[in-house]
């Protein structure tokens, strides 16, 4: 226990032997089986794993939406979660979505509009405040979702394959945007993806999960200088190695 307390100064989140089981027919199926890792304050960590390796489950547990069956997952401070599909509330405008997050955080009604405007400005959505989600492109929706997450004033941002459905150019732009926001803030980011290049593009460190059930197979520190280019050969080499590892894990998982 005292050990955990001592860690909490430096660590934004810690996952210890985390196991999550779901009922599957009359049996249980393990989504995560003893995953252990830590993320330091201000660190940008990417988690890669094949589909079904428990990445979403991991984030859901950290966000308090699912319960662990064993072990523990602890976040120091407030968390915000960004989902893969745009999870904006469709009946609210972009600004309305951000304002709701502010309202739920207890921000006064008189201040909300201004703060929402500033946040949307920060993700380059100025002028789109009054648009509804179905009137925004995929990239714009994820920008709005990012603004909404920022409105939660979280210490830790959990991102679940947020750019997986975007075209390459929008994704590139959002990588830059996210990196800039992270650099300007004290945010800790845990970013989940199945794309090794994206993980190497963004992460200070990449955690590779095993397949079905998920466990930490491997950790790779990424020392490439920022900003990185998705197309640089150095990045491709590291990503290639991680992809090989993933393939290996997937064939084991069969």
């Amino acid at each position: 226990m005292s050990n955990v307390m001592a860690l909490s100064d430096k660590h934004a989140l810690s996952v210890e032997r985390l196991t999550v089981a779901f009922p599957h027919g009359d049996q249980v199926m393990l989504a995560l089986d003893g995953a252990t890792f830590e993320v330091k304050r201000g660190e940008f960590v990417c988690v890669v794993g094949a589909s079904g390796s428990g990445k979403s489950t991991l984030l859901n547990v950290l966000a308090g939406l699912d319960r662990p069956s064993g072990g523990r997952a602890h976040v120091h401070g407030r968390v915000a979660l960004i989902f893969q599909e745009s999870a904006l509330l469709p009946w609210l405008t972009a600004a309305g979505n951000v304002e709701l997050a502010l309202e739920l955080r207890g921000v006064k009604a008189s201040a909300r509009q201004k703060v929402a405007h500033e946040l949307l400005n920060r993700v380059h959505l100025a002028g789109f405040e009054r648009r509804r989600p179905h009137e925004l492109s995929g990239g714009m929706k994820q920008r709005a979702a990012l603004a909404r997450a920022l409105a939660q004033e979280a210490d830790v941002l959990l991102m679940d394959e947020p750019f997986a459905a975007l075209d390459a150019i929008s994704r590139d732009l959002l990588h830059e945007e996210l990196e800039r926001i992270w650099t300007e803030s004290h945010l800790t980011i845990l970013f989940v993806t199945h794309n090794a290049r994206e993980a190497v593009r963004l992460g200070d460190r990449v955690i590779v999960l095993t397949s079905r059930p998920g466990r930490v197979a491997h950790e790779v520190p990424i020392d490439l200088p920022r900003p990185r280019s998705l197309d640089s050969p150095e990045l491709a080499v590291i990503a290639g190695r991680i992809t090989d590892r993933l393939k290996h894990e997937m064939s084991n998982g069969r």
Partner: protein
């Protein structure tokens, strides 16, 4: 706008033409089945008479009262059922049964229990509309995308706040659908009840209809039917407009908008 209106106008013209053809065919004497023109003249005459509006007003007041209570009760019942898992299984099927039961079947009991015919009429309208409204809201709540619930919870909304900010708004389109259907049931139930009530100096549309029949005044009878039809169409299209604007705002309309 015009492209919307033309087919409707065409349908009206067609219906009137068929009516006129039947009259011309001599199937029934003009005293039993008058043609469109005398009926419209009669309707025009009615519309210059203030008492006629008092009758329409009385009918619409009854509809509004019964419907308002039904909307309130249906909403509360649906939320309660949705909140309590056990209640859902028990009451859910009951709701389906009530919805398919013609609410006029409640009328004799209502007359015995409430004695006053006004209360009985309100009850029939209520029993007609409330199940459809409750069922609409309930299915809306049931069908809220689980992702939206997660989104709300991830933003820190729980319990009532989750309901207020996520579940109920997400269920609104289905709720409006239920309200629309509830109105249709309410209007039918009300007409049935008014036809059955035989009370003194009432001038409601249903009573006038019954009166016209007793006096063999088919012109008045058909004029009243037109009024009933028009009221139904107008209110239904109001609901239709609300329905469309909600679905538009919720991003549920396809490319047709």
């Amino acid at each position: 706008m015009w492209s919307n209106l033309w087919p409707k106008l065409g349908a009206v013209v067609l219906a009137v033409a068929i009516w006129q053809l039947i009259v011309w065919s001599g199937w029934r004497p003009q005293s039993a089945l008058p043609g469109p023109w005398p009926v419209l003249e009669r309707l025009a005459g009615d519309l210059r008479n203030l008492d006629f509006y008092a009758g329409i007003g009385m009918t619409l007041r009854r509809a509004a009262l019964g419907y308002a209570i039904a909307a309130g009760a249906g909403t509360v019942v649906a939320i309660l059922i949705a909140r309590v898992k056990l209640a859902r299984r028990a009451v859910g099927s009951l709701l389906v049964g009530l919805q398919s039961m013609p609410s006029i079947a409640w009328f004799p009991l209502a007359l015995l229990l409430l004695q006053r015919s006004e209360g009985a009429i309100t009850l029939v309208v209520l029993m007609g509309a409330a199940p459809a409204i409750a069922a609409g809201l309930l299915s809306g709540i049931d069908q809220v995308h689980p992702m939206l619930i997660r989104v709300g919870r991830a933003m820190g909304a729980d319990g009532l706040r989750l309901y207020r900010h996520v579940v109920l708004p997400a269920a609104l389109p289905a709720f409006v659908g239920g309200l629309k259907q509830g109105w249709a049931f309410a209007w039918r139930s009300l007409m049935s009840a008014e036809l059955l009530v035989v009370a003194g100096n009432q001038t409601s549309i249903g009573t006038q209809l019954q009166l016209a029949r007793n006096l063999l005044d088919t012109q008045q009878l058909l004029a009243l039917m037109i009024v009933i039809f028009v009221i139904g169409v107008v209110i239904d299209s109001l609901f239709g407009a609300v329905d469309r604007s909600v679905r538009q705002r919720w991003g549920l309309l396809g490319g047709e908008a």
